[in-house]
């Protein structure tokens, strides 16, 4: 990715003093809208989350008697305990992890290998296969929902998280393969040719050379897929509709329907808990996540 250098013209022909004065005025004129712009964005992005957090600490009495923007009179941390218990958050978090981790591992293992076979290796028909796989990016989940539901029902997989793992893996492959193929395009084929001269089979050189060479890209792709899977709702409410199988998203939806209509504090607390985990992950890895999401969507 190119970095844009300072686009201000260098006015070398002008006397230094003149340039400095002109700059400081220009600087000031430019700084005001910059400051306003940043302030507006700060408020737009942060206020809803701040409000959410404050409301998660209010008693149910306060929701009725005080304006919604008011700060809580005392911090009711017990809302969090209530939310944790009533919303079975431990269960939903565990389900989300159990559905997400194996899917991610499978997506990465299968997707990277397929990207390698489709981009680095030379064979007839690979463009057709690549196009067929890429078409999968456009297919809405609704199109595969009912057949998969029937299949899982007949295989007696309903009642487990297997349907989610299988569906996430298949649904995540097209984008992963596209991204990995793009990354492999940047690696010279001679490297793999050289390693085979040294006696490694091509499969071996994929695992000991190709995979390690793209391991940064793998992390990026994994993050993208993590958020797509973690935040899925359609498959989660279709294939894991029993209470004990609810993922975080599905659990929150049920929780708000049954319990949240009565008691806002714990509902807000449940939302807070749900948001916090991903925000922490995001804060640590934000550059890579942004990079991955944009690379995955366009370049290629």
């Amino acid at each position: 990715m190119a970095t844009l250098t300072d686009p201000r013209p260098t006015l070398t022909a002008e006397p230094v003093r003149n340039r400095r004065r002109r700059r400081s005025v220009g600087e000031l004129v430019r700084r005001v809208p910059v400051a306003i712009g940043i302030a507006v964005l700060l408020v737009i992005e942060l206020y809803p989350l701040f409000w959410l957090f404050m409301n998660s600490l209010k008693s149910s009495q306060e929701f009725i008697s005080t304006p919604s923007w008011a700060l809580p009179a005392e911090f009711r941390w017990d809302n969090y305990a209530t939310a944790w218990e009533t919303g079975s958050l431990a269960t939903t978090i565990r389900n989300s992890v159990v559905a997400t981790v194996p899917s991610l591992l499978l997506i990465i293992l299968l997707g990277v290998a397929a990207g390698f076979a489709l981009e680095v290796m030379v064979w007839k028909g690979r463009n057709t296969v690549l196009l067929t796989v890429l078409a999968g990016i456009m297919i809405p989940g609704q199109m595969i929902l009912l057949p998969l539901f029937t299949i899982y029902f007949n295989l007696r997989l309903t009642g487990t998280l297997w349907p989610l793992i299988i569906t996430y893996t298949a649904h995540g492959l097209p984008l992963t393969i596209l991204m990995m193929a793009t990354y492999f395009r940047a690696i010279p084929r001679e490297i793999f040719e050289a390693s085979t001269i040294d006696g490694a089979s091509i499969v071996r050189s994929f695992f000991s050379i190709g995979f390690p060479m793209v391991r940064n890209a793998v992390l990026t792709v994994a993050l993208v897929q993590f958020f797509l899977i973690w935040n899925d709702l359609l498959f989660a409410i279709t294939f894991a509709n029993r209470r004990e199988l609810n993922t975080i998203q599905a659990g929150l939806l049920n929780f708000s329907g049954e319990y949240g209509a009565l008691d806002y504090g714990p509902l807000m607390a449940a939302i807070c808990i749900t948001v916090t985990g991903v925000l922490v992950l995001y804060l640590f890895l934000n550059q890579r996540i942004m990079q991955g999401l944009t690379a995955g969507s366009i370049k290629g």
Binding site: M1, A170, L173, L293, T294
Partner: protein, 293 residues
Amino acid sequence: MRSVLGDRRAIAILLGPALLVYTLAMLVPVVWSLGYTFFKGNALEGFRFAGFDNFARLVADPDVHEAFAFTVKYAALMSLGQVVVGYALALFYVFVLRRLSSFVRTLVFFPVVIPTVAIALLYQKLFQSAPRDGVVNELLVNVGLGGVDWLGAGDTAFIVIIVMDLWRSMGFYGVLIYAGLLDIPEDILESARLDGARRWSLFRHIVLPLSLPILLSSVIFSLNGTIKVFDSVLALTNGGPGTSNTPLTLYMYRTAFAYGDYGYGSTIALLLTIMCFAVTVVVFRSARRDITA
């Protein structure tokens, strides 16, 4: 050397598993779903052949018309909003904040990673009017305007959906277009400046034309995503009030699971799929012509 990179056994080992999973859990279901469109019934009660009944029903169904209209309206407005706001953000990052934009980019991006249901529930409370006004209504009352029952009427609920989804996704489009803008060669901007191009004319004649490809990609990407809108609408209004804000995706889901009609549900899903493909092909073709002409 070609023989090494063309080793069939290696290709089979590397590509085979992915292709198998993709075929079994994506391609086969797509074809299977096409098959369902000719049947009535569901997996539990059994199917009976219906010929083209589902397609006739699709064409005549007022609920489909309503859902289709919502999906088109939402996708058009949302894509316009995402690309315009995203572009504005990207220009702000590149030309105003410059190298200091990293913090702001991080900040504006973070709703993208938050679970949709959480955001929808948050917005429900921000825009609520009963039993107590939410922040938005309190603000309106304080500046002398009356409160609005936002989620109680179709039109106002639609506004909340748009505002929420724009808030949720604008950081993503900002970064996406930002990455594209960075690819504009610096020397082109530089020589335009030396030729006397300033602000507006620099934007109008240099930056805008050069950003068309990335804007085009964003439109395609955005339309493709917005046609599939599901989570946010389901969690915010559940398609309501009534059926006023029900997208095709949600109507399909209800048809299949609330009414147990797999055949008709699949027919609606097929309509969705065709829309996604059509958007990509049509936008891509027409825009390719414009850019290369």
